[in-house]
């Protein structure tokens, strides 16, 4: 299992390189893509502006702590856009058009290739710059120690958040094997993703429970800042560690089941 993981990690590194080179061929597209991403980033920053302007404390968090949440959300958007967005958009097409046949013949995991083969590299640069800046400012202003324990905790929950993100947005894609057309689902995905723009404790308790336990979307961006601020209970810390692993196994199991429904559409 470990060897398989390392093998796929190496392949993913190659995919990043290949995609980056391929995208460099169309430099104008990169510039235009950056413009679009800056636009969406502006909307995210609008929330930061309102929080700054009104000085609101949300669930006891001062505005400077809230920047840590918004910054983490922007950084996670980097992974969402780079790893998932374009794979989600292209997923049903490869099943409808029979492109999936080719994926099945490759000597690597079909799930890995079908869900992660497109990597968006250059478009996410503004999100990286703004995300790192906001997290740094929020970290410093919230008086969080910059040591190996805190940074390690932040990175650990961020990595677990990435696994959760992959699973939550991959599981519904499996419907494509049965329904074929799932384009309507995309608008739901983007809307769900934006739910992480603010700390989950702003929402009423039922939404917090649903978003933490049943559809753990809040684990993606909330747990890393909460962990470094010492705001996670022992139960939440354990759940934050277990849930992504459970979800990952559920996704792999669901994939194996769903793939049985695949019918080659390419003729």
């Amino acid at each position: 299992m470990w060897r398989q993981f390392i093998k796929h990690l190496k392949i993913y590194g190659l995919l990043i390189k290949l995609n980056a080179i391929r995208q460099l061929e169309y430099r104008v597209n990169i510039v235009l893509g950056l413009l679009v991403e800056i636009g969406y980033l502006g909307i995210k920053l609008l929330y930061a502006y309102i929080i700054h302007d009104t000085g609101v404390h949300i669930s006891g968090f001062a505005p400077q702590s809230l920047y840590l949440f918004i910054g983490t959300f922007i950084l996670m958007t980097v992974f969402f856009v780079a790893m998932l967005q374009f794979n989600i958009m292209a997923f049903d097409r490869q099943i409808i058009e029979g492109e999936f046949d080719l994926i099945l013949t490759k000597p690597v995991s079909a799930q890995f290739l079908a869900t992660l083969k497109y990597v968006e590299t250059w478009m996410v640069i503004p999100n990286i710059i703004v995300g790192v800046s906001l997290v740094s400012y929020g970290w410093h202003a919230s008086d969080i120690a910059f040591d190996i324990v805190h940074v390690g905790l932040y990175v650990l929950y961020a990595l677990l958040g990435i696994v959760t993100m992959y699973c939550i947005f991959t599981l519904p894609l499996l419907l494509a094997f049965k329904l074929h057309h799932i384009s309507a689902f995309h608008s739901l995905v983007w809307a769900l993703w934006d739910f992480n723009n603010l700390p989950h404790r702003i929402f009423p308790s039922p939404i917090q429970i649903i978003g933490t336990v049943f559809l753990p979307i809040f684990l993606i961006t909330n747990f890393s800042p909460l962990a470094v601020m010492g705001q996670l209970s022992i139960g939440e810390m354990i759940w934050g560690g277990i849930a992504p692993i459970l979800l990952f196994f559920l996704t792999c199991w669901g994939w194996k089941k769903a793939i049985h429904s695949y019918e080659s559409g390419g003729g």
Partner: protein, 266 residues
């Protein structure tokens, strides 16, 4: 005229075939509404202010809910088809057929979106009823009537804006980023995310010189009775003035673009 009505009917039939898509889109609009709802609730509770950015809590809630719905009602998508028509020679058939391309696109757009638009207006009517009953919104019948006029203007203005953008395909190869950039900018500058009063007076004055605020902000100001009747009528004049100006610009650019059009595709 009959041929355009037939196209409109075809568009409507096509839209009705994708009812689930529309339901999902409306469902997706619920999430940003919840996000904005809890944010503004926290802000008003924390600051204990009666009004923020010139709006009371109930005005703000009514606005963000109605704005999210209005943004859904003004969805487009035809711009990609138009760009494809221009690039791959799809305009050829309009050269030989007694059919105006503008008329064709407008009929299909109205047909495809009319169902969405009316259905969203019905959801908005429900929200408005709640707002009037529970949040004491000062909306009167005259506001609703004038809103329908301004919403129809917004619908047409949105079409004109994206039609105009699509004409850039005569000269540009990659247009998707232009479409998406303008869509995001338009969403913010039209007041689709937050009311324009959030940006402060000087920026708001700058935005008032652009057509975007007549897509969402102005129709909602009309509906919620936030502006006087005089301001509504002058706003309507400016909105329809923008529509006329866009129409003129479209005619000029279409003529120029047609000269550089290559009838590809045999």
């Amino acid at each position: 005229m009959n041929k355009y009505m037939w196209l409109l009917g075809m568009g409507l039939q096509k839209a009705l075939a994708y009812r689930v898509n529309y339901s999902v889109a409306i469902l997706a609009a619920v999430f940003p509404i919840i996000l904005q709802w809890v944010l503004w609730q926290s802000i008003y509770q924390y600051t204990k202010a009666d009004t923020l950015y010139g709006m009371s809590y109930s005005d703000m809630l009514s606005y963000v809910v109605l704005a999210a719905l209005m943004a859904q009602a003004l969805r487009t998508g035809f711009e990609y088809d138009m760009a494809e028509d221009i690039k791959s020679g799809g305009l050829n058939r309009f050269i030989v057929q007694p059919l105006s391309y503008f008329g064709y696109r407008l009929s299909v757009f109205v047909g495809t979106n009319l169902g969405y638009f009316v259905a969203t207006l019905m959801v908005m009517a429900l929200v408005l009823w709640v707002a009037i009953q529970y949040w004491v919104l000062p909306t009167q019948i005259i506001h609703i009537a004038l809103f329908v006029v301004s919403a129809a203007g917004a619908f047409l203005l949105q079409f004109m804006l994206f039609y105009l953008l699509s004409l850039t395909a005569f000269w540009l190869h990659e247009v998707w980023a232009l479409f998406e950039s303008v869509r995001v900018i338009s969403l913010v500058l039209s007041g689709g995310v937050v009311p324009l009063s959030v940006f402060g007076e000087s920026l708001q004055y700058g935005f008032s010189l652009l057509p975007f605020q007549y897509l969402i902000y102005f129709p909602l100001q009309t509906l919620t009775g936030a502006i006087s009747l005089e301001q509504i009528f002058s706003g309507l004049l400016v909105q329809w003035g923008w529509i006329a100006a866009m129409m003129l610009l479209i005619t000029v650019i279409w003529r120029r673009g047609s000269r550089s059009y290559l009838a590809l595709g045999g």
